[in-house]
């Protein structure tokens, strides 16, 4: 190869793009040829100078800021993304609100259940379980007259193991209530009757809840809320409930 041919390869060599084999041959030639060697040095210096001189222009900091602002992911980039976020957020708020409402109702319901079972247990432990002691509904019903802001009918217990023991006045959630006592095979059933206000009604989401091994049955009928509590069997509570519902109509 002539010097002319070698000089064609000097730039490629300096760019580190000459195949290894050819690079070695060129190096051998440069050791032997002062002219090509000097040319290589000059081009290498030029390349180095261009490298330095070529970095002439620096951007403004403002341009960088503008571009970063342009390309950064924004929440408002997509209207649909906004809608999705807003929907998710309102769903979350709704879910929390609904959850809180249900939880509060649950708590209130539990509180009422617990208040009623407490009243039942207190009655069982009391020496004077009832204010009016009579198995005759025609005695018990008139006794409540004037003592409560509502009236109710006593059930017909003909042909059932249920018997009326008596009744007393009590308070459920600061509202006057009737507590009727029934007996069935040595078990005592308390039936609480109080005005079914809008406030009270939804709280009875828990029906037939078992608490302290008591069966609880609750229903509302003709503006009155009925809650039966007893350690008697479920069948007896159902029987009593049916008779109370029948008496109310």
């Amino acid at each position: 190869m002539s010097c002319h041919d070698w000089r064609e390869k000097i730039d490629t060599y300096l760019d580190d793009e000459l195949p290894r084999e050819q690079a070695r041959e060129l190096e051998a030639h440069l050791l032997a040829c002062p002219a090509c060697s000097s040319e290589t040095l000059a081009r290498s210096t030029l390349k180095r100078s261009i490298h330095l001189a070529g970095k002439s222009f620096s951007p403004d900091l403002d341009l960088r800021k503008r571009i970063v602002a342009d390309i950064q992911p924004k929440a408002s980039r997509s209207r649909w993304a906004w809608i999705a976020v807003a929907t998710a957020a309102s769903m979350a708020v709704l879910a929390v609100a609904l959850g809180a409402l249900l939880w509060m109702r649950q708590v209130q319901s539990q509180q009422l259940v617990s208040e009623i079972t407490d009243l039942h247990v207190t009655m069982l432990a009391s020496a004077n379980r009832v204010d009016v002691l009579s198995s005759d509904k025609h005695t018990v019903k008139p006794w409540f007259a004037g003592k409560l802001p509502f009236t109710f009918n006593l059930p017909d217990l003909e042909g059932s193991p249920l018997e009326l023991i008596g009744g007393k006045l009590t308070y459920v959630e600061q509202n006057p209530a009737a507590e009727l006592l029934f007996g069935v095979r040595k078990h005592v059933i308390s039936v609480f009757i109080f005005k079914d206000t809008a406030e009270v009604r939804p709280r009875f989401t828990v029906t037939n809840a078992e608490r302290l091994s008591f069966n609880i049955e609750s229903w509302s009928d003709a503006g009155l809320q009925y809650v039966a509590v007893s350690d008697a069997g479920r069948a007896d509570l159902d029987d009593l409930r049916a008779r109370l519902v029948a008496a109310a109509h």
Binding site: D15, R43, K47, F57, P73
Partner: protein
């Protein structure tokens, strides 16, 4: 198609380190600060939009430069008839008439300003290939990707560009002597 947040974040991470070199190249292409700024800003906007089509594992720097260059070529400045990227058009640049030996010593001493002026005088196609190779230190393969030309064309264009560069510097040096 809008990029999701992750993808846009990934783009920022990959593209922002190239900001200063891209600006430098844009300024060399346009020779004007305002136009270079517009060019870089438009390049980033286009690149972000097209980021979904970027093939991971391929050369991101070359991809970004390609966008910058295509944006420049379709811009007002880039469409000037004086700017031509056709290699055949520039073959009329004559070989240095004399032997290179004495001039090569002058070349070695060429100062920064002389090189700067020579680069400005070079046709855009030559200027850009020299900048990509000597300033950005891209490999021939990267340059080929950025300019969308075969590697062989990169080598021949680079050879012509350097010859033209040396010629310009020799003239300048000769004028100064």
């Amino acid at each position: 198609m809008a990029l999701n947040r992750n993808k846009a974040g990934e783009f920022e991470q990959m593209a922002m380190p190239l900001f200063a070199p891209l600006y430098n190249l844009a300024h060399w292409l346009t020779q004007d600060r305002g136009e270079a700024e517009d060019l870089v800003q438009e390049t980033y906007a286009k690149a972000l939009k097209g980021f979904n089509s970027f093939q991971p594992g391929t050369n991101f720097r070359a991809w970004m430069y390609r966008i910058l260059r295509n944006t420049f070529l379709t811009s007002r400045t880039g469409l000037k008839p004086a700017v031509s990227l056709d290699d055949e058009d520039q073959t009329q640049l004559a070989d240095p008439a004399t032997s290179e030996t004495p001039e090569s010593i002058l070349l070695a001493r060429a100062d920064r300003d002389a090189i700067h002026r020579a680069l400005q005088q070079l046709p855009v196609a030559y200027r850009e290939v020299i900048l990509l190779c000597d300033v950005e230190e891209m490999s021939y393969r990267e340059i080929a990707e950025a300019l969308m030309i075969p590697i062989g064309t990169v080598m021949s264009r680079l050879a012509r560009a350097r010859k033209a560069m040396r010629q310009l510097l020799q003239r300048a040096a000769g004028a100064n002597v």
